[in-house]
Amino acid sequence: MSTISDPPKGSFRLSMLLNDTRYRSMTLQVIAAIALALALAYLYSNLAANLRAFGLNISFAFLGNAAGYDINQTLIDYTSQSTNLRAAFVGIINTLLVAFLACVTATVLGVIAGVLRLSNNWLVRKLMSFYVEIFRNIPVLIWIIIIFTIMTVTLPGPNEFRGDNATSSMLFDLFAFTNRGVYIPGPYFTRGFGGGEGSALNWLMVLALLAGSFFGARFVTARASRIQEATGVRPGTLLPNLTIWFLPLIAFALVFGLHWDIPELKGFNFSGGIKIGAPLIALWLALSVYTGAFIAENVRAGIQAVSKGQTEAAAALGIRQGRIMSLVILPQALRVIIPPLISQYLNITKNSSLAILVGYADITATLGGITLNQTGRAIECVLLLMAFYLIISLTISAVMNVYNKSMKLKER
């Protein structure tokens, strides 16, 4: 028996670089590195030559210049005199806003449709698979345009709300659905801290209260479970929970004078309240129904992945039908559902870049659209745009990896 031994010393030949497995991978990597470096150098030299030919340079100074254009839907203060950087921030916040809204509604829609696709009711089942197939197989771009067209073409203009015999009227005198957008009552505080006008500080306080209520509610639930385990009787949690959630808010609203700013028709348009522009609504609804169809499929697959024996075992234990779903099936199905669900959220964020089509001022429309066209800084704008989306994507996938690790079935 001979074992593999080192080759005799001094017998190294050049061909061994390729034929000897000990050296081959190193050789190949060196070749790859050289090829990559050459390719990058070639691209860079082309870039440099082109930039010289056009008299351009790479500089991010334009971000500090005044943007010079208006944005109709902003969550932070912005005027046309603000910088391009601020316009980009407005875009980022708008992207996150529509992505968040769409994620919430798409999840709700998707879970409902996914559960109903497994319903005993034949008609409902067929209706839901019709919904899923219709929305999955038609480009989201077409859905965005169609819903935007519905908003702008079929809804009445603000002038149709005017006069004694107006053709349109506000819903409950609170909401106005117009072709420019939907106007809803906006809350505001009349008193701020230290006696002045209400300000952003009030809203921060509201957020803090909500966070406090969240932890308070968790404490109540945990305490109820503790008592249940000790005594076998679960104390009622509904009343304490309601108190914890609503009492502080109501007290806060009374102390600082919460009022509602109700939209009113003034001149040619509505004023007051909060305006949700038609582009935002179109994008939000289209992304929701489109992604909802995909989520419905994920939910269905997740529920079907739970073996039937689990349902039967739960039924054998005497658990009620509705509780089987919430206590046995869904917790196990979630393990299957959550990873694809998160990638659907990523898709929503990426698809929200189609906002440029309906004129919603997201990051693609501000930085990658108007700023790019006005300054001509194509390379810088596109790079920044990609960096933004990349950061979002990598953050979400990092979160997802952590979640997957924690949810992994622990065996032995």
Binding site: A32, N121, V124, I138, I142, T149, V153, I392, S393
Partner: protein, 432 residues
Amino acid sequence: MSGTHEHSVAFVRTTEIPQQPAPSNAAGPIKWMRDNLFATWPNALLTVASIYVIFLVLSSTMPWILGGIWDAPSLTACREILQGESAACFAVLSDRWHQLLFGFKYPSEYYWRPTLALFLMFFALAPVLFFDLPRKLLIFTALFPFIAYWLIWGGTIWIPIFAMVGFIAGYFVYARFVAQNFALGFFGGVAGAAIVWYISSFVVAAIAPETPLLGAVPSRDLGGFMLNLMLGLTCVSLSIPLGIALALGRQSSMPLIKWICVIFIEFIRGVPLITLLFVASVMLAYFFPPDATVDLFLRVVIMITIFSAAYIAEVIRGGLAALPKGQYEAANSLGLDYAQAMRLIILPQALKISIPGIVNIAVGLFKDTTLVSVISMFDMVGMIRGPILASTDWNGVYWELFGFAALLFFVVCYGISQYSQWLERRLATDHR
């Protein structure tokens, strides 16, 4: 028996009672409805609600569709015919169908060429999609790209012919050397093809006729649904080999290669397609040599291809990971080298697992080809939003046009996804 009881019992049945049908509420449509539509009270409520929804949708759309006008020169003429009634004006489709399908600049006398290419496409795809067909048909599949290129772009026939000759030369070099070493064969083949193409570029310039058999059409004149189909088909077929290479690279034991692939895949998957299209339209030109003019179609094809390659690579990586480790070890123990093991053992199985995923990516990609309308290419959506809705004749016809576009995409995408489900059943070798 009957004789003895003749006078003691009033009636004795001497024949068997014929089998009765089940009670009407325990069989047939009524039972089906009780089980499937009205099983419980909430279920019945859901049924009624669903019927109401269906009624609402149908009652609002059906008269609109059925009363549609198919023959009118413009929207105003259409409205005159309708006289205030609400109905569709499909006349826009019969008036502008050629623009929707071929774009507004493709010469109308050449429409037969893309149409013929489309028909040939079915023949070319058939042996790829259905394994039962004779394998010899694949020869036509290999010829199809050159034929389709010549049909759609026209110009001198020598360009596709020499392109094909280059591939054939490359194949011969590959076949000559692959027995010695796969890398030698592969790169030798690439080099052989490149040499042939380089030489033929001079030959073609010399022998190209002044007036070619088929008139040349520049790629900026392509448009309509044809553009969507072309982009979808080209990019998917180009991105599968690239995706396989990326997936293998990501699994590689060589850290440098692995990290190049990981960074590439994660970068591409992290950004929306629209930013890559921006790269194609405003940025990519800076990275080409200053005197080169690469037309927008090619730039878009490059970007969409690397976009879908990154996604396909992830699907194939899933397939590679799903293979039992024993397969890799078995290949090694047979003494196969890396290329042989991959070609003969690993990839055939891994690709089979990944086919449904790849088809899903293909459907998504085909839908995403509509995004090119954002960088002002006139695909189907671009045609509707641009030339057609902007024309004075048809300004205001939204539903008919977008409905038509949605219908076309639905037919294609639904067809592909049904195919994928069929394939999944067909390929399932496990017993259930």
